[in-house]
Symmetry: C2
Subunit: 191 residues, 2 copies
Amino acid sequence: MTATRGDTRTRLLNTALGLFTVHGVEGTSLQMIADELGVTKAAVYYHFRTKDEITEAVAEPALRELSAILDHAATIRRHGVRVDYVLDGLVDLVVRNRILVAVFCSDPGIARAIERSLHGEENVMTRLPAMLVPPDADEAAVVSAHVALAGVALAGGSPALMTMDDERLRRHLSEAGRRLLGRPRRRESLS
Amino acid sequence: MTATRGDTRTRLLNTALGLFTVHGVEGTSLQMIADELGVTKAAVYYHFRTKDEITEAVAEPALRELSAILDHAATIRRHGVRVDYVLDGLVDLVVRNRILVAVFCSDPGIARAIERSLHGEENVMTRLPAMLVPPDADEAAVVSAHVALAGVALAGGSPALMTMDDERLRRHLSEAGRRLLGRPRRRESLS
């Protein structure tokens, strides 16, 4: 029974994300999710009481991964190694979750849900830039780190780049981030 | 009389933006705007029938400026000169409108209003990256341009950088953008 419940929950979240992509979070109702899944609204209620709970659950695994990346990064002493680790992790996370990122960027519902679910634990969005700049960084480096983070996340979810395959998008985002963060180009990216 | 009407409209939009910053677009009512201005709700209705109209009017001048930048950029033949012009214009626009950009990034109301007001005219968000990459650009350059645009806009509105003075933020954003777009550093930015 537990396995079945788990599967339904996963299917429900995938269905919800699909509907969010088409209709936005605000344009998607619990009824629409139930209809798309071919179940009753009561069956949806069995797993989630509100759409907010669904929205949070959709975003949660990616946020949890990001938080784990930052936890591990905090244990890395050498600045360059830590920057590489965080940037690679972020780029990979964004590319694997492109659709989620796109929905997040174009729809407030998820943004609000993320803020809520980040509340309480240490704020991921504050920890992230701090991992990319050394303590003695100048102002220009701090601004560059913010540009890198925002740019990688938003460009990664950009509809204009949706057709680019994962591996290429990952490489290009990573190189753009490295240039901003003052990291040398990688050998495999040199032509 | 026209002058007075114009002044009230401007005050109303400034008041609305201030309330949006504190309460978000969705958390701000016409009544709150009227109270803050010390006028009746009817006086607000005299200028705008809905909050959506106010939201659009708040974002409109900046969008109109962006559109004008792109119109002029389209007349510039040399790629490097055009990139410099668009990047300088965008950075300046973002820095002058930091609060608007911050509200826009954290609140869907403005994002939707912008989408609506962009609808009809050629899409600014599609024209923008096209102005920054030459027709024969490789994929990496296209991704870099997207990272530059998203990064400059979002970092420019970032609460973490809100205390940095305009001139310094402008210079740092511009240098980050130039690095991504393959433009040489500017002399005044070299230490």
